[in-house]
């Protein structure tokens, strides 16, 4: 009788060359992608230089609408960042074995997108060169300062959390000795894979996985507090903290699904990113879509039923007024379209989940816009007489932020394995045994197959 381990090693491809291929071979398609993305980056830099020179007058902002799509982008990007660290940490803690080939791709999103979240605020400043006044004259009563603290902490933790599981892979790259050996050598910190090193690394990853979860929740809660702490109608809401966190995870998973589908397609990693990954993430996405709808419904119904005039102005500007298109597009993109796709198992394929994710990403951007702009347009006194519309400068900078984020992500895949090699290998070697042990630990009656398996393994582990 063959053991489970034998079956495993037979059914999986043993060499993971496919994971190194993106780093070691570069196609013309990659160069074209980089050039296209860089073009948008250049447009962004040009637009920003002009804005710096002339002032924020080049935006579409005006007197009550002091914040526009820059702040929308800020909230959106910080939201997307929840794709990585939070999802990967939760899956790690839950010992979800299917996580192994998706954690890296998720964590990179977090780290990269945080720069653009923070950058969106800097772009929005009238005097970015004075930004360090935050250190010289901090006012700790300001939610914006809380934000600076929490985003900095989140970025630090996320970089660490990305770097730690990267170390064994860096050592693998160093030992292959094909490209940039010196770089990988320095970054691998002398990893040789001794039991002690492995033990320390496992401990460190486990600790970080737990640490990043409260930090991630804090970050998006504090982002919501920038709005909720003011007394402005439809911002001053206790639901905002959890509402924003749910929205963040929601948009984050959607962004992750899109990234995974592109990686899978471009680098031919169908063996590593399987249907099942998309199905599982699609299920998670479905849960988040329902949660998002629940929060949105609760928030708007409470406002409607309470019928305070100030809040009603804003609510109706969203439902039937100048913001109606954005509002109903948001409802369609975040709920009406993706939920059927994700709920019907036959449609929850790679293609289906990616389509749903694309709608969700657009919808969640609109959601952030619908929170920021309508409240500012209808303040209690002296409401706006015109509808804010972003200027070309704002659109170019926004486009540039998206393209530069994608550029950074693409470049990462050219330097480091986007699917964690050692974790996949470890999964092949250890996870089946672990899962069997775990399951047989809580199954009430003896399981014949697993028991046999355990009996086979036990003498070895004692030895």
């Amino acid at each position: 009788m063959s053991t489970v381990a034998d079956v495993v090693s037979e059914s999986f491809p043993v060499n993971d060359e496919a994971l190194f291929r993106p780093i070691e071979t570069t196609t013309a398609r990659f160069h074209i992608t980089v050039v296209v993305l860089l073009t948008f980056t250049c447009f962004m830099l040009g637009a920003y230089a002009r804005q710096l020179w002339l002032g924020l007058g080049v935006t579409g902002l005006n007197t009550p609408v002091y914040w526009g799509i820059y702040i929308t982008n800020f909230v959106f990007f910080i939201g997307i960042s929840h794709a990585g660290t939070l999802i990967s940490a939760i899956l790690r803690i839950c010992h979800a074995e299917w996580r192994r080939s998706i954690t890296r791709a998720a964590e990179v999103i977090t780290v990269m997108v945080l720069f653009f979240g923070a950058g969106s605020v800097v772009v929005d400043l009238g005097h970015p060169e004075r930004a360090l006044n935050i250190l010289f004259h901090p006012n700790f009563r300001s939610p914006l300062l809380w934000d600076v603290c929490s985003v900095t902490m989140y970025l630090t933790a996320s970089v660490l959390y990305l770097y730690l599981p990267l170390i064994p892979d860096l050592a693998l790259l160093r030992d292959r000795g094909r490209k940039r050996t010196w770089l990988y050598g320095v970054l691998a910190l002398g990893w040789t894979g001794t039991p002690r090193q492995k033990h320390l690394l496992e401990r460190a990853i486990a600790v970080m996985a737990i640490v990043v979860i409260p930090i991630a929740v804090t970050v998006h809660t504090v982002v919501s507090w920038v709005f909720a702490m003011t007394v402005q109608p439809m911002w001053h809401s206790t639901i905002f903290g959890p509402y924003f966190v749910v929205g963040a995870i929601f948009s984050g998973i959607a962004a992750l699904l899109i990234a995974l589908a592109i990686i899978r397609h471009v680098y031919h990693l169908e063996e590593y990113l399987k249907q099942i990954h998309f199905r599982h993430l699609g299920q998670l996405l479905l849960v988040m879509a329902l949660l998002w709808f629940y929060f949105t419904f609760a928030e708007h119904l409470t406002v409607f039923y309470g019928a305070e005039p100030e809040e009603m102005h804003i609510l109706f500007s969203k439902l039937t007024g100048p913001f109606a298109f954005g509002f109903w597009a948001m409802v369609a993109c975040c709920f009406l379209i993706p939920v059927p796709i994700l709920a019907v198992p036959r449609w929850r394929t790679v293609k289906g989940t990616v389509w749903a994710s694309a709608f969700i990403v657009v919808g969640m951007w609109l959601e952030r816009y619908n929170i920021v702009v309508p409240s500012l347009s209808q303040p209690r006194v002296l409401p706006s007489r015109m509808v804010y519309f972003p200027s070309l400068t704002e659109l170019l900078i926004t486009l540039g932020f998206f393209s530069t984020f994608i550029l950074f992500y693409v470049l990462f895949t050219k330097f480091f394995p986007i699917v964690s090699v050692w974790e996949v290998q470890e999964g092949r070697e250890k996870s089946l045994e672990e899962v069997c042990e775990r399951v047989s630990g809580y199954i009430p009656l003896p399981m014949t197959e697993a028991d046999n398996y355990r009996n086979l393994r036990r003498p070895q582990s004692i030895r």
Partner: protein, 241 residues
């Protein structure tokens, strides 16, 4: 009030809406006194005009029973200002004598204060302020000209307080009542505006603030504004019901 001191006055303003004729003399006086840039008609169309003192129109009712109420609105100089709380760099705060000030050289231009102010009484310099032609010769040397990218607002003509205080100190005497008044109050033709120390129970503003006609804008938000309005109705008979 945060930072209040017993020996300090608490400057406040009373605006009698019965006397106010909506002539906007206060608006013009403020613009000239405080070097407020006029951004031109096209920028004003886009909602970019700056008015430290603004005559706000509140239309009421439907035609033909419609009317418009007017209200001169400076910064409310709240005792508990929502704007000062949220400034990340402490560029706006409340002085011991109750003036909510703006430190132009420290402001990073994040516009959190402008979004947090429930009265929309704060303005942002979208462009570099400009004074076309000869109007640049009329700039007030006592008031700094703001750069682009900072928030600005009514300071209750703080420079006038500084001048009056310096004069009083050089003459070794306390500041006399009426020695310091902002330009809007000084220019009001029907004398609808009063200014003084709200903590001095005998001052005109303190007495008027106890009037049964007295109200503060959005009082329910707990911001404790120090601009107090006297309701219309005593003379004009608007509140007939």
């Amino acid at each position: 009030m945060k930072g209040a001191r017993l020996d300090m006055p608490r400057w406040g303003m009373v605006i009698d809406l019965d006397k106010c004729t909506a002539c906007q003399a206060c608006v013009v006086a403020c613009q000239v006194e405080n070097n407020v840039a006029f951004m031109g008609p096209s920028e004003a169309q886009r909602g970019r005009a700056i008015f430290w003192m603004k005559l706000a129109a509140f239309p009421e009712g439907k035609f033909p029973e419609s009317k418009v109420r007017f209200m001169p609105m400076p910064c409310m100089h709240c005792d508990d200002p929502p704007c000062a709380k949220v400034c990340p760099v402490d560029a706006t705060n409340i002085t011991p004598d109750g003036i909510v000030r703006q430190i132009f050289s420290r402001c990073i231009g994040c516009r959190y204060c402008t979004t947090a102010c429930p009265y929309t009484r704060r303005y942002f310099n979208w462009y570099k302020p400009e004074w076309p032609g000869e109007s640049s010769m009329a700039l007030n040397p006592d008031v700094s000209v703001r750069p682009k990218g900072v928030v600005e607002k009514c300071t209750l003509c703080h420079h006038r307080l500084q001048n009056a205080r310096e004069k009083a100190i050089s003459e070794k005497r306390p500041l006399a009542p009426g020695e310091y008044i902002p330009a809007c109050v000084e220019s009001c033709p029907p004398k609808a505006m009063y200014f003084g120390d709200l903590d001095d129970p005998n001052s005109e503003v303190a007495q008027l603030s106890r009037s049964s006609r007295a109200f503060r804008l959005l009082e329910e938000l707990g911001t404790k504004p120090k601009v107090i309005y006297l309701r219309e109705g005593e003379r004009s008979g608007v509140n007939r019901s």
